[in-house]
Subunit: 405 residues, 2 copies
């Protein structure tokens, strides 16, 4: 996927950070970090697997299920001596745990008494994994370094930016598919099917990858609940909805949300959208290298405060490569207290949304910090999209009861 | 989604198991278990959330992100007093952790000194969550009960079986979409796009839900690596592939794998397929209530052993409702040592596959144990599908170099 030199550079940066934190061995459970350092790419993170970076070894060790070792051979730059399979009897067993196997390997290769970093807050490093590792390595010293590699990922290489630009083209197609498929009498799930089709078909030149979050398309009062997925309810005249989706190219994501309506949008929605749009556009103009993350949030907060609004949740977060269940990088957030200094080629989902009790508006952008400011990845108008219903029986349908299950 | 009576029955069964294990409070991080007991359904499990069952309380407590509390109101049977939001400053912070909030709530409501069960091996209960809970509740006594609710889920209600039958119809459509879209010159991702479209469109009568695992469609030598997803390589004459997908209706899954080929399949593949088909059909005929899980595996093992094959990995696992990253229920496995006794309305993915060094064959079924035997959910022929190429320039294309990126 990337040149070996790029992987080695990433590995060196990781080791440098390990030194800064005084650790000699880093256990990596986060599939995004695993992919970043080795290229490992398979839907196998539902069983335990571990990448082990040892400070004085040239290659990391991949330990995973026997059935997945061929995927490691196929997708990583590691040689076969650094790919260690565990037998299937360790899979979802109440007796044997894959982390017993990992601990044994570490002891066998003389790493059992070292200073070991753990990704304590990674989705796939469970409480039980932790307990087994601790028990299995009684002479080791442990330190929590949950997001060490995540922070190495923060500034993107040119090759990574190219991946995100490709993802953004896919996103444009997917948002277009959403707009064109939304209609009176169409079911929510059929709109998602059209979005998915566009996300995975990609473009004529390259295919799309699965996104780490599925489309979230709440309608009407449910726009107040941004993480609802979909139902098979049929749309009606006057419905409004949030569409939050991403394009994904080889695990690199560019997310975006837009607010749409069929026929017409309620005035409360278009009014709120004006505030959100003014907020995001003011913020986009202001972002430049050298600012802190909290300063970005502050510009937005001041802009919407002029209109009497206050938003409690963060304004955005770092993005790049990722695996389900999240496309956020879990490092920088645009919010009070985050004093990370922006630098060129940091990439973010700038995520202004305002949610009231029974409606909400989201109009968001994936952005890259440039040498002098910032640029958006995808070219999609920032407005409430009003879809003209194609169905001639509009007036009939809007008076009918809900169709479908 | 289900009648309140069904949720209360599930809750009572959970409490009975809690009593058997001597615990008074159960902390549930697994989104599948949360959905099972309350109906909670949103893509919000990438931030911490917790369902708390207290043995002497009528309703569980849902604790989650402020932004997601409206989803809990919208999708669960809980009243608003049992839905407790935490502020956004707890989200992906290096300082505040949502489990501090959970521990505080438990202390405040007088549960801080009780016997508490934890899902130690659940994907979304991280090592850090565990540490914070332990620190925050110094007077509590803890016990690992990772799969307590998973085991309650084992025997499905009639309503659940109906959901799985609906999922199976979607699966049939999706497998059909795979078969019809695979062709010379078509890209792997375009086949996935067609599968996804079918999965989410569902049927005329109901829509489909997202599956907990994305389509896995390795080709040729990569069929030895069952969990590879896809690329944008174009198919060529003589390619063979595994297609492992599911149908999903309201989080209920029926998975299936088939082996396909374009134009012709290599003899080694059709030969191996004969063994796999004889194995699965012999096993399907034998399965009945009263058998143990390991006996099921033994029938398969004996059948393929006659042909000189030995399969190291488990032959299948319990299925039902699930959230990413896995559609397995993490309870029963068809393998040596699993002495679970089969009962009617247990449901499984019977997953015979044989993987050699450079190819593999999978022909699998989702099944339900009935009163007298078992039945398959989906009606899809068990064979290696040979797709006749539609492209007239077949002979040209097969001699060309690979097209596309």
């Amino acid at each position: 996927m990337f040149a070996k030199e790029e992987y080695l550079m990433r590995l060196n940066k990781t080791k440098q950070k390990m030194m800064e934190h005084g650790i000699e061995v880093l256990l990596i459970a986060n599939p995004s970090n695993m992919y970043y350092l080795t290229g490992y790419n398979a839907w196998s993170f539902y069983v335990y697997q571990m990448l082990i970076v040892i400070i004085d070894e040239d290659q990391p060790l991949w330990i995973g299920r026997e059935m997945d070792a061929p995927s490691a051979v196929a997708t990583t730059w590691l040689d076969e001596h650094h790919i260690i399979p565990y037998p299937d009897e360790f899979v979802q067993s109440t007796i044997k745990h894959p982390m017993d196997f990992v601990a044994n390997i570490l002891s066998e290769i003389g790493q059992g008494n070292r200073k070991i970093g753990l990704e304590m807050d990674s989705f796939y490093f469970t409480a039980m994994s932790y307990e087994r590792i601790i028990q299995g390595l009684p002479y080791a010293e442990f330190k929590n370094l949950s997001t060490l590699v995540n922070w190495v990922r923060l500034i993107k290489s040119e090759k990574e930016i190219q991946c995100m630009k490709k993802a953004a083209k896919i996103l444009e197609n997917a948002m277009n598919a959403a707009y064109h498929s939304v209609d009176i009498g169409v079911r929510e799930n059929d709109v998602v099917a059209a979005i998915n089709q566009a996300q995975i078909s990609g473009t004529m030149d390259y295919g799309g990858d699965y996104t780490s979050i599925v489309p979230m398309i709440p309608t009407n009062e449910n726009t107040a609940s941004p993480h609802l997925t979909w139902t098979d309810r049929r749309y009606r005249y006057g419905d409004f909805m949030t569409i939050e989706i991403a394009g994904c190219y080889r695990r690199y994501h560019t997310p975006m949300a837009r607010t749409m309506a069929i026929g017409k949008a309620p005035k409360k929605v278009t009014d709120l959208a004006k505030v959100v749009i003014e907020g995001i556009e003011t913020t986009l103009e202001a972002i430049k290298p050298g600012m802190t993350a909290e300063e970005v949030e502050n510009i937005w907060a001041k802009t919407i405060a002029k209109h009497g609004y206050y938003k409690d949740s963060r304004l955005g977060y770092s993005i790049g490569l990722s695996y389900p269940p999240d496309w956020g990088e879990h490092t920088v957030s645009f919010r009070k207290g985050d004093r990370t200094i922006l630098q060129p080629n940091m990439t973010f989902h700038l995520m202004p949304g305002i949610w009231m009790d029974d409606y909400g508006v989201e109009i968001t952008e994936s952005i890259r910090v440039t040498e002098k400011g910032c640029e958006v990845f995808a070219n999609v108008p920032r407005d409430v999209f009003i879809k003209k219903p194609s169905n001639i029986s509009t007036m009939t349908l809007q008076n009918e009861d809900q169709v479908g299950s």
